[in-house]
Symmetry: D2
Subunit: 338 residues, 4 copies
Amino acid sequence: MQATTAPAFRVGVLGASGYSGRELCALIAGHPQLTLAFATANTQRGTTLRVRAGLAVHDIPLIAPEEADLAGVDLVFAALPHGASAEWVARALAAGTRVVDLSSDLRPGHGGAAHALPAGVPLDAPYGLPELFRAPVRGARVVANPGCYATSILVALAPLARAGLIAPGGTVSIASASGVSGAGASPKLELLFAEVAEDFRAYGVGNSHRHLHEMRAALGTLGADCDLLFTPHLLPATRGILSTITVPLTRPVDDALAPFRAAYADEPFVELTTQLPALAEVQHRNVVRIGAVVPTGMRSPTLLVFSAIDNLVKGAAGQAVQNANLMLGLSETAGLPQ
Amino acid sequence: MQATTAPAFRVGVLGASGYSGRELCALIAGHPQLTLAFATANTQRGTTLRVRAGLAVHDIPLIAPEEADLAGVDLVFAALPHGASAEWVARALAAGTRVVDLSSDLRPGHGGAAHALPAGVPLDAPYGLPELFRAPVRGARVVANPGCYATSILVALAPLARAGLIAPGGTVSIASASGVSGAGASPKLELLFAEVAEDFRAYGVGNSHRHLHEMRAALGTLGADCDLLFTPHLLPATRGILSTITVPLTRPVDDALAPFRAAYADEPFVELTTQLPALAEVQHRNVVRIGAVVPTGMRSPTLLVFSAIDNLVKGAAGQAVQNANLMLGLSETAGLPQ
Amino acid sequence: MQATTAPAFRVGVLGASGYSGRELCALIAGHPQLTLAFATANTQRGTTLRVRAGLAVHDIPLIAPEEADLAGVDLVFAALPHGASAEWVARALAAGTRVVDLSSDLRPGHGGAAHALPAGVPLDAPYGLPELFRAPVRGARVVANPGCYATSILVALAPLARAGLIAPGGTVSIASASGVSGAGASPKLELLFAEVAEDFRAYGVGNSHRHLHEMRAALGTLGADCDLLFTPHLLPATRGILSTITVPLTRPVDDALAPFRAAYADEPFVELTTQLPALAEVQHRNVVRIGAVVPTGMRSPTLLVFSAIDNLVKGAAGQAVQNANLMLGLSETAGLPQ
Amino acid sequence: MQATTAPAFRVGVLGASGYSGRELCALIAGHPQLTLAFATANTQRGTTLRVRAGLAVHDIPLIAPEEADLAGVDLVFAALPHGASAEWVARALAAGTRVVDLSSDLRPGHGGAAHALPAGVPLDAPYGLPELFRAPVRGARVVANPGCYATSILVALAPLARAGLIAPGGTVSIASASGVSGAGASPKLELLFAEVAEDFRAYGVGNSHRHLHEMRAALGTLGADCDLLFTPHLLPATRGILSTITVPLTRPVDDALAPFRAAYADEPFVELTTQLPALAEVQHRNVVRIGAVVPTGMRSPTLLVFSAIDNLVKGAAGQAVQNANLMLGLSETAGLPQ
């Protein structure tokens, strides 16, 4: 450990009172080479946010966004609501500061939003899913952090797509379930404990969910020519996403995990299991945990893939730090729980 | 209401301490034409089971199975563990008593178990899913009560199968999630609160779940020639099953619910919704609640179907009472929460 | 059952979209002698509320409060927020209609609010806790429905107070825990699933909770001269209140339940147990379930009393119907789940 | 940080498959000066336990207790069931190895058990609650780790006892609520998710709980002459204990927190708050978080004290490591989450 020689960077968090923002503050507090210069919040400005990092706790003052010294930091994490983020991305870039944007504003496929991007925000910000598209993230000035569902699904499908295993024109059917923190920390009736406990339901179905755009764009890049049918569900749990994915194959596979082993042998944040991945195994970790099974009794070659992530870590804040590490030239794994 | 002319029957429950057995006792206590003559339990024999029915509570003594007067009742509900049930079905039939068997022992497709059925237990007991196969249940002496997952899925698929809408050779992909009461009331580490809360995981995957046999058998009868890929999951909730089903179609449908409306117009226990069915809407009710969506952006005609039931009611005890009503010549809806 | 001779009354519900209001609509739908003429809601006006009653479900249209025909019903249940209710109570009384007010506006001890009561609202509306103060409720034109905590605690303390068992000047220490539905259905950050699950905390401590006023007033009436120390807590559960109460006694008791047996022998909605009452035993029932223990190793005579209710039934809607039954001359138990 | 000069010790865990044992393994894995030499389990022997520590995960093989090399380690943590532990404590001591015993077998006040202690196990093992009794723990060969409830309560009461603030002969009334992990990881019907969710109940009431003995013994040592009335409850949550304590005082206090500030100014693991402590604030941390309120409207001087801990950390494994640190001459805070 040669802490004295490691470069240190100052970073800020816009939107620190949401669940992703809180998680970002915790990760930064525990990061050996990042220092949190400011954290902003709207309604909770003036209060203090307590986060745990390693064995310590940190009390972080929340300031108003307008008070944030965007030019005084090396990188800003924008954990703002969709639609409200691009404006702040523009401000940070204008101040000469790097940005990881956790909203959907800059993600590929958001055509409508993209046309309305403020001046200075590139239409083609790199899509920050390092396991699939690492090169453009290194040294980038602005990165679009992927959606939580998209992360869980793309990491599961990419090895199959790249190996030409997904049947062209076939339907990849995806049932995902997410803990309620994925819906954010804004008070809504349908997110109350008394509404969520003992319930389970789908939402955003029929391919109407926002994350579908980026999944299609990314899969196209990877060479897959399939249809996606994506159905998210709301779990009576706080954090985690499990995606259960049916993939029609071009040819049978004997070893269900083989394509994943080949693709992810050197990836520190992808974990393969011969069992079935569960939320409890990935919570608070920056990993995608993948299992796969060749189902019996099928006439067409088919693979059943399971992918579990913590929606707030690998699905949001952890991945954002992973991207920041790459943008700043740090070790990709620095400060991330594995 | 002509209560004085309605016939009344005496019934018994074998296995009343499990979750299905408790629910059966509650439904019988509130049934206008059934009287509970006995309820048995093994380890809890000698204790009292309290159930609510309508506005009243009932305290039911639990006796040992050996003390049950099988010949003294008109019908026995066997809510015993799989494998242990057939033996008691044989005893009840030998005593001249009708039986609804809630285990999988007598269900179609259980070839291995069927060959080992005790003398007197028919190999072809009617499969008690009245919405699909009502005629053979009327007046039957023994009925195999369907599995909870099978109920939720078959009621969702049958109208499509009968209308020739399911693409032959296609893969019907089913992701189901069940509350933990579906796993029974026997103490297992993986069912402890501290293990289930905040977790979500699949189990019995790759087409290894017991209910697949009866689903395949029933769908064959209904004329479908598709492959099923069935993946159950364990929910951090107590009761309810939601099945999310992707169906490849032979032709496009404009109105996603049309096939269901045609099939279930007169069914008292099938409920269609233009919204998405949720567990909270079906708990404590003997209904299958179905929603359907035609997803956008698909090259092949595809339907997304949702089916919600209470696993302990329409998935077990409620359906058993529905079958008993038909077997005994009562109104099919008598005593059932709609 | 002589349904033809029973009088029937038309009632309305103001504030039907809250948790108490929904429960009221369900109870009225299942009540043999009440008909729901209207149900109002503010933000949810124009939508439909689905409730279950017995074996049936009912879909109830929600209208704006201004559309409610207050004069066209026999009784109005006001399930409106504290502070907003008295105004509507005045309107209903002016229209010649009876009122059960579920808010705290008319309860005893609410001195400040009382002085501000609109013209026509009596300062001394009977306190509708029939087990303790039944006579004034019979035939009353307006009744103040007790708070949920107050109900659970007063029913537990009254027999001891009336028997002169509570040590004068002593401290009765009360730790109560309530499910989150007690906090209402308005969206607040601290009631989100992700905030409530896995947490437990006190609130309104140091004798600052609203219900303390009515408890002190009622206990004074019952002859107790003790200090109350009341500490409510928020449970990660949806419904139910358990109060754990330490009572300093004037003299030792041998049989912990004896005072309660004597007081409540004929009460249909009080249930005594030699075990410890639990939330699961009272949910969806209009009962107070009481257990008591004489602790060992105490130098001063002390009783430990437990009291469990469903905060939405006996703590709100059920008790309101119980009061309405008395006001309208119906059987006190009509339509109430026991 | 001078890692090179810090002594390192080898330790073992007996009973690593329980909730406390798992937590111990995680803490040891993250401890800078402890190395886990073995971890034992009975039914799960031969499997692997995965724990997270800091940013890393560790997979720990579980061996049979008989295979453990007790003599080859510097200290053994015994996380075995009450009654089964003393035997293994004796073996470890005979092998010349230090022991922290997490069971109740060696705790003060366990008179019956004490008489049956195996040869070599001292009748007066230091009670390892360092905030109250630090000196005897330093360098001790065997330490009795306190119960989880006792920890939460004694740390809250000790400053009042030592300051002579607790009224002699008065009743200290304690209502505690614990997450279900406190009941251990053995499969019992009453700990199933379907039984615990949506329920809340007391147990072990009337001063019958095991932890009462050690609380009385410790309070006596601290000079308090009060009666304890301790009532534990089972929470529908996984981890954490909140104790709500009513204390009759000898004299009024103006500043509710003053006695705690004076006593715990230098304690790294005691946290005072002017708000009300909540489970969510202490989970996964080795702290006791204390709040206090002077209630209004009381004739006798009274203090209301709240104490929150994580039952598995400060209530078990964390405190055990804290004791081990003292026994081995390490920094008391080494490896502990604050």
